[in-house]
């Protein structure tokens, strides 16, 4: 059978690697791939109505060049679009990030069928994930399974907005930039920050203290 895959990664070598690996699949599936190297290319393919059922599977990287025009900054944002425009396609997210917040956000937002942390899996695991996802199962690498259990997230203490703020703070952005990126006011960010501090048990402190605490908790 033919498996049509949309491969989104900014490293052509990586896409070649995926292809090479998939060619080794035990079911002898024919693999057809279309590649996108950044958010813009991926966006154009995804929102094209002609493609709405063109893919069985999407290999999605987390960190890829952003498409500012549509405010698409990463694979997470693309995942949301894929779920909307390509309802038949399954998603395998492959990311180098292994922090709880991002992983949890990804799981929460797009519920990928597969979630692998690069450098954390050995090549055969990629084939396992491919086959399991094709079979309708989910495949998360062990570290992911561990991280998404974080009670602060699972019990709803830190919601999506809070988590995004923490992510952007960790990426070194100032409040102004964060507000612009998230399309909310600076005041909202400030309120959220004080809520995050309360949750993390920080009385007085800077952004650094938030991040320190997050790291201590393994959220980052």
């Amino acid at each position: 059978m033919i498996v049509r895959i949309l491969m989104i990664d900014d490293h052509p070598g990586m896409i070649e690697g995926y292809k090479a690996m998939l060619s080794l699949n035990k079911e002898q599936h024919n693999i057809e791939t279309i590649s996108a190297f950044n958010c813009e290319e991926a966006y154009n393919i995804i929102i094209n109505p002609a493609n709405s059922s063109a893919f069985d599977l999407v290999f999605l990287d987390y960190s890829i060049p952003e498409f500012l025009e549509q405010k698409i900054y990463n694979g997470e944002d693309l995942g949301v679009l894929i779920r909307k425009h390509l309802p038949n396609a399954k998603i395998i997210m492959l990311t180098a990030h292994f922090d709880a917040i991002r992983l949890y956000n990804v799981v929460k937002k797009i519920q990928p069928n597969g979630l692998l942390v690069k450098s954390d899996y050995k090549p055969p695991h990629l084939l396992d994930a491919f086959e399991k996802v094709l079979a309708g199962e989910t495949y998360y690498t062990p570290i992911v399974l561990e991280k998404v259990k974080e009670p602060l997230f699972t019990k709803g203490f830190l919601d999506t907005l809070d988590r995004e703020i923490i992510v952007l703070l960790a990426e070194g952005f100032q409040i102004k930039t964060i507000a612009t990126k998230m399309n909310v006011s600076e005041d909202t960010i400030k309120k959220r920050k004080s809520k995050i501090k309360d949750l993390l048990g920080i009385e007085k402190g800077s952004d650094e203290d938030i991040l320190k605490e997050c790291r201590a908790l393994g959220l980052l």
Binding site: H11, G13, G17, Y18, H97, P123, G172
Partner: protein, 619 residues
């Protein structure tokens, strides 16, 4: 010194007084004139004004006695001028009196009267002058045919004379006055009264012994009245007077008595005899410039010589005219003399007026000066107040500026930090997404290739593939650490200080050590203090860089009290002599800043022993 000067002055005065006494012995002789000239010269050179007044008055009197009325008037006027210069105007009444007499002699009666009144006004207590003034006023009034009024003044003179009984000439003066009064009656044609009046008041026998001139006057008056009463006994009296006058050569009486005798013979119709006497009288009068009498005589001569009446009337007219001319000329002359002295007096008045004006001006200037001084003082006080306020405002502004600068530096530092963070983030991402991703890609491709060649079971290859994965993990950790340390270099005071070090380290061999006590909470320290501290450190580090030739610099900052920070900057450079006054601007600046912060500044250094700057700053 003072004493010799005083005694010298006294000596001069004594000499002058002796000379005056001596001169008075020769009264109105040539010698009198000469002595007074000497006194005048001495007084001029010694600036002895009193002496000068005496001398000038005496010289005036001398000329007056010689009938040299111009010169006399000149000297009197000069004496008057000098007297008016002095306080109290000494002897002014005498001088006025002499002048009045002189004017009377010149027949300038109204001027004589005025001057005599001036004398009277100034004569306080001087009875002789008062008497003389009354007499002169009376004579002047008599001259102006104001007989009734003149009588009043003669009587006043008589009353005054009663206070002068001690005077040697008392009797003569009294007789003289009676004679004047008698003459008033004579003018009023009360001839009988004249004779009786004089008979009652004058002891002729007594006066004949003491004063022949006065005696002759009185006899003359009586004789003339008798003549008018057609009493022929008058001739005997006239002859007696003529005899006396001729013997003492007293011209006025000679002229008068000869005129009277001429008149007598005219009445007796003896025109030849009358002519003889009148011609004699006329000659004498003419010779001695007694023009008034000469006129009278000429008129009588006209009567005595009807044949020659034209001749005498012509002469009368000529004389009268020339007399008027002379009179006018004399008056002009006197006026001129008066004017000259007046002018000087005027100048003096002008000077004193100017002095007054000057005094007023000085007053005005002083008042204005004081006022302006006051205004200036107030202005300065106001200004200094303003300056103080301005200084305060400036200090506040400077503090604000300092804080603003610190804020700017912090902002800059933050911007730099953000830039750095972004760069770190970029590197982290590059490693994470780029290098690591590529490695992953390599690993996958390699695995796939080896798998296809059935080499995957080969331990060497599989081990290398695992090795690549380990590298990936390492890179991941590095990237993570990089991004997680993003905020470790926070923007704060220490960061800014470190920046200072970095800048110097970039272009020198100096090695910096920074030791900051954890106890220092920089957030509690005012930004204004921090910026000043920063400037001090900057100055110190610049000095070290420029002059110290140091290899190591150590900066320690610690808390000594809960609100005092201690900063020590030490280096191992060449040091300098702290005793030298020529401390550079750098050290002065540091000290000034420390003073501004109410802190302590101490600098220790010896040649080749390095330098240590110790600061204590309260906050």
């Amino acid at each position: 010194m003072q004493n010799t000067k005083e005694s010298r002055k006294q000596f001069e005065i004594n000499t002058r007084n002796d000379l005056l006494k001596l001169g008075n012995k020769y009264a109105y002789e040539k010698k009198f004139y000469e002595i007074n000239k000497i006194i005048e010269n001495k007084a001029e050179s010694n600036k002895d004004t009193i002496g000068n007044i005496y001398a000038k008055t005496n010289i005036g009197l001398y000329y007056f006695n010689l009938f040299s009325n111009d010169s006399a008037y000149y000297y009197f006027s000069k004496a008057e001028k000098l007297s008016l210069q002095l306080k109290g105007n000494p002897h002014i009444c005498e001088i006025f009196q002499y002048k009045a007499d002189l004017l009377w002699c010149q027949k300038d009666f109204s001027a004589a009267e005025t001057t005599a009144i001036k004398s009277l006004k100034n004569s306080k207590g001087n009875n002789i002058v008062t008497y003389s003034s009354y007499l002169t006023i009376a004579n002047a009034l008599f001259g102006m045919n104001n007989y009734d009024k003149s009588l009043i003044y003669y009587n006043k003179a008589l009353i005054k004379l009663e206070e002068l009984k001690k005077l040697k000439q008392y009797n003569e003066l009294k007789t003289q006055t009676y004679n004047y009064i008698a003459k008033v009656y004579q003018k009023k044609k009360l001839y009988q009264k004249v004779i009786e009046y004089l008979k009652i008041n004058v002891n002729l026998i007594k006066i004949k012994k003491t004063d022949l001139i006065t005696y002759s006057h009185v006899v003359n008056t009586i004789a003339y009245s008798k003549l008018k009463l057609n009493d022929k006994s008058s001739l005997l009296l006239f002859k007696e007077v003529e005899k006396i006058a001729d013997s003492i050569k007293f011209v006025p009486t000679q002229v008068e008595v000869k005129t009277y005798m001429g008149e007598y013979y005219l009445i007796q119709q003896d025109k030849v005899k009358a002519s003889t006497y009148l011609k004699d009288a006329q000659k004498l009068a003419h010779k001695n410039n007694i023009f008034e009498d000469e006129l009278k005589i000429l008129k009588l001569l006209e009567q005595a010589n009807p044949n020659l009446s034209n001749f005498y009337s012509d002469r009368y007219i000529i004389l009268n005219d020339s007399l008027q001319d002379v009179e006018r000329a004399t008056r002009d002359k006197f006026a001129r003399i008066e004017f000259e002295t007046d002018e000087i007096t005027n100048q003096k008045e002008i000077v004193s007026k100017e002095n007054n004006l000057l005094n007023k001006r000085i007053w005005i200037i002083s008042v204005f000066g004081l006022l302006s001084l006051l205004v200036i003082v107030l202005w300065f006080m106001n200004k200094s107040q303003k300056a103080k306020t301005r200084e305060l405002l400036l200090k506040q502004e400077q503090q604000k500026a300092n804080e603003a600068i610190y804020q700017l530096m912090i902002d800059q530092q933050q911007q730099m930090e953000e830039g750095k963070n972004i760069e770190k983030q970029r590197i982290s991402l590059e490693l994470h997404d780029g290098v690591m991703g590529k490695l992953s890609a390599v690993r996958l491709n390699l695995y796939a290739a080896l798998y296809k060649e059935n080499l995957i079971e080969n331990e060497v290859f599989s081990k290398q593939i695992d090795e690549i994965q380990e590298v990936e993990k390492e890179i991941r950790t590095i990237a993570h650490d990089l991004s997680s340390k993003l905020f470790s270099d926070n923007a704060n005071f220490i960061g800014i200080v470190k920046e200072l070090f970095t800048k110097i380290e970039n272009h020198s061999q100096i090695h910096f050590t920074l030791e900051v006590s954890e106890a220092v909470n920089w957030d509690l320290i005012n930004n204004s203090i921090k910026i000043n501290l920063y400037r001090i450190l900057q100055e110190a580090l610049q000095n070290i860089e420029k002059y110290a030739n140091a290899k190591n610099v150590c900066l320690t900052m610690s808390l000594i009290e809960s609100n005092e920070i201690n900063i020590v900057i030490s280096d191992d450079g060449i040091g300098f002599d702290t005793n030298k006054k020529s401390n550079g601007i750098g050290i002065k600046n540091m000290k000034a800043r420390i003073v501004e912060l109410n802190g302590k500044f101490n600098i220790k250094s010896e040649l080749h022993q390095g330098t240590e700057i110790n600061l204590t700053i309260p906050f």
